[in-house]
Symmetry: C2
Amino acid sequence: MDMMQLDADGLASAQAAAEQSYETLRGRNLALDMTRGKPAPDQLDLADEMLTMVGAGDTAGEDGTDYRNYGILAGIPEARTFFAEYMDVDPAEVVVGGNSSLTMMYDAMAGGMFFGMPRGNDDAAMPWRDQGSIKFICPVPGYDRHFAICERLGVEMITVDMTPDGPDMDAVEALVADDASIKGMWCVPKYSNPSGETYSDETVDRLAAMTVAAPDFRIFWDNAYAVHHLGAGPARVKNLLAACKAAGNPDRALMFGSTSKITHAGAGVAVLAASEVNVTDALEKMFYASIGPDKINQLRHVRFFKDMAGLLSHMDKQAALLGPKFAAVDEALERHLAGKRIARWTKPEGGYFVSVDVLDGCASDIISMAGKAGVKLTPAGATYPYGKDPHDRNIRLAPTMPSVDEIKTAMEVFCTCVELVCARKLSELT
Amino acid sequence: MDMMQLDADGLASAQAAAEQSYETLRGRNLALDMTRGKPAPDQLDLADEMLTMVGAGDTAGEDGTDYRNYGILAGIPEARTFFAEYMDVDPAEVVVGGNSSLTMMYDAMAGGMFFGMPRGNDDAAMPWRDQGSIKFICPVPGYDRHFAICERLGVEMITVDMTPDGPDMDAVEALVADDASIKGMWCVPKYSNPSGETYSDETVDRLAAMTVAAPDFRIFWDNAYAVHHLGAGPARVKNLLAACKAAGNPDRALMFGSTSKITHAGAGVAVLAASEVNVTDALEKMFYASIGPDKINQLRHVRFFKDMAGLLSHMDKQAALLGPKFAAVDEALERHLAGKRIARWTKPEGGYFVSVDVLDGCASDIISMAGKAGVKLTPAGATYPYGKDPHDRNIRLAPTMPSVDEIKTAMEVFCTCVELVCARKLSELT
């Protein structure tokens, strides 16, 4: 039933049916939450063995260094070696930090704003904030925490649309070529948050090689879902740092990752990978705020994974838990909404989200009605800078945390709200 | 033998004797390190039991919250309650963070510079850097990492001398009364780094009550050695926050602490304690850079200590290990240098350092000569802003890390260098 083809009577009866379903569902007094990309307890259980892998008398590194004490700002050598393989770079191109890649990303952008970034052979770093108004490119829809960092630090956000191959590169190239106030760009290259795209090789090559007016331009490459597939093995993304080196722009890439969605979300390990120039710069900035990261927790992680094969096999177990949840989301969307032309949705092969685009002007009302029926969704607009979706159409579903049964119920509510709000909207337009 | 009373011949023979001792010691090819305040392995061993206190199936808080997941920016309730008692404040006045109080102090000062501090009922926060040139008061000698933060953030440092009761309060009061560009002050209130003083009640009351021109003035109260006595139980320092509240200045105090020198130096837990206005402000600032601290490590700490009595008993064990080390330092200083009038030194009752003042103009040479004989000391000037001791006389000894035997040898070298360099200096002046 293509709702776009219905006449006024048809829309009225579709709306009435949806209203009746909605009232029934609301009567169930649900309390379900699909707002945030949090791992579920069964995913976290898979890493519990790690907790006790460093114990008394067993806290030294391979070279005998006592990891209980101060120091080693760049992270323990074992962890730098391990995460170098994870990020596909050399160990000298890695800083292993604390429990949050968000902290490393905030620190990188704050460091750029207040102290500047290396600018190649010519000039000393100059704080971005001393160079006038500063802008970042933000592919949309995107991650609200990236946008929040920009907003907090007074960095103006310029949106470009996502395509199935990554950001619209024609738009990106046109923006950065002449405007030296554009100092960087956010990217989630694999299973992008929220829309699930994986960047094509051509996109990576164009990002690496494009002409950029600002000599201190940086791509903030948040590879949060590098190994987070949903059952068919991780997708491959071309190595940005290698591509930047090949294109003669080795310092353009700042790549971030973490084990927050691999081991324990709050007690993982974060990593920065970049050229040695950028690593040296990051460590100089970190010196003032830290004597070193929690090296014991880094040691726990290295011992738990053993090697990259161990990590990948661990992620296969996570995929086995998450696959059915995403399938339940897709099954509900297909059953309720397929062919109605009121919603399009992604079918991600990894990551933490399903992104739904509904009829323009309907997202806020759908999210609000779902909330009133006991299903919390990511706030409308969250996937756009300043929390404002210009079309009011994008909705991010986060199905990792609830159980499959909870997801089925939540999706019943969600799809009903989509039908109801869209039928109303179409009635108004008829 | 008062060296100040020696004639030229007497000085020449003292110098010759010291030179001979020095050459003998140098021939031993020592490699000893007394540079930094690092706990020794036997101190760290005392907390090893903590490492495995949180394991599989045992990661939830008292209220059932799973501490492996994201969130709880202010720290877990159990840890806030525990560290509230440690800092002598209410749980709502505590933020429990990551592994480093240095990070919390850096973030606090950077937050003041770039975003400002609450200014009471009148006005919104205004970034310090938008208020012209900004200054901090730094009692000297002091902690090089405090000074480094100021230097990094472009905060000018104004020194005031330490007295046995804390900073020279007449000088402090005179400075802050009229100059609104002075936005704060560093304090290490107990067993001060490096000189070991503990602030008197009168000092705390004057700090709390003094008239301050800047409405966004903050005392950075680095209570790093709150329970770190050397055998006679911890000294008592009046509660700054309580004193500030009593004086009508509740937002003046930002108090910091950590377990870095209680459990494991690199894998401890840091804490900020302040008025609820300041805690709310700190959490607002933290939001952009973090989704939450490592709550599992906080849980380990709470379980390990059990209660404040457990922590205090733990610190008694540390005192039993550290007491003999400080006694060895003092014994050597007394034996070699007492009565010679070329050096004065502290006899701390807690903390991590012995501070030695030698004849003016001699500290750099002593540290350099000790280094050549294989005994590394904290660099000359480190205890002063910009690394410049105006009298070139203060030397910080850090006896916690080496063994008692190593300390005895290192002190032999140190005292010989003091005698040698000071005899030379007096000869030049004769």
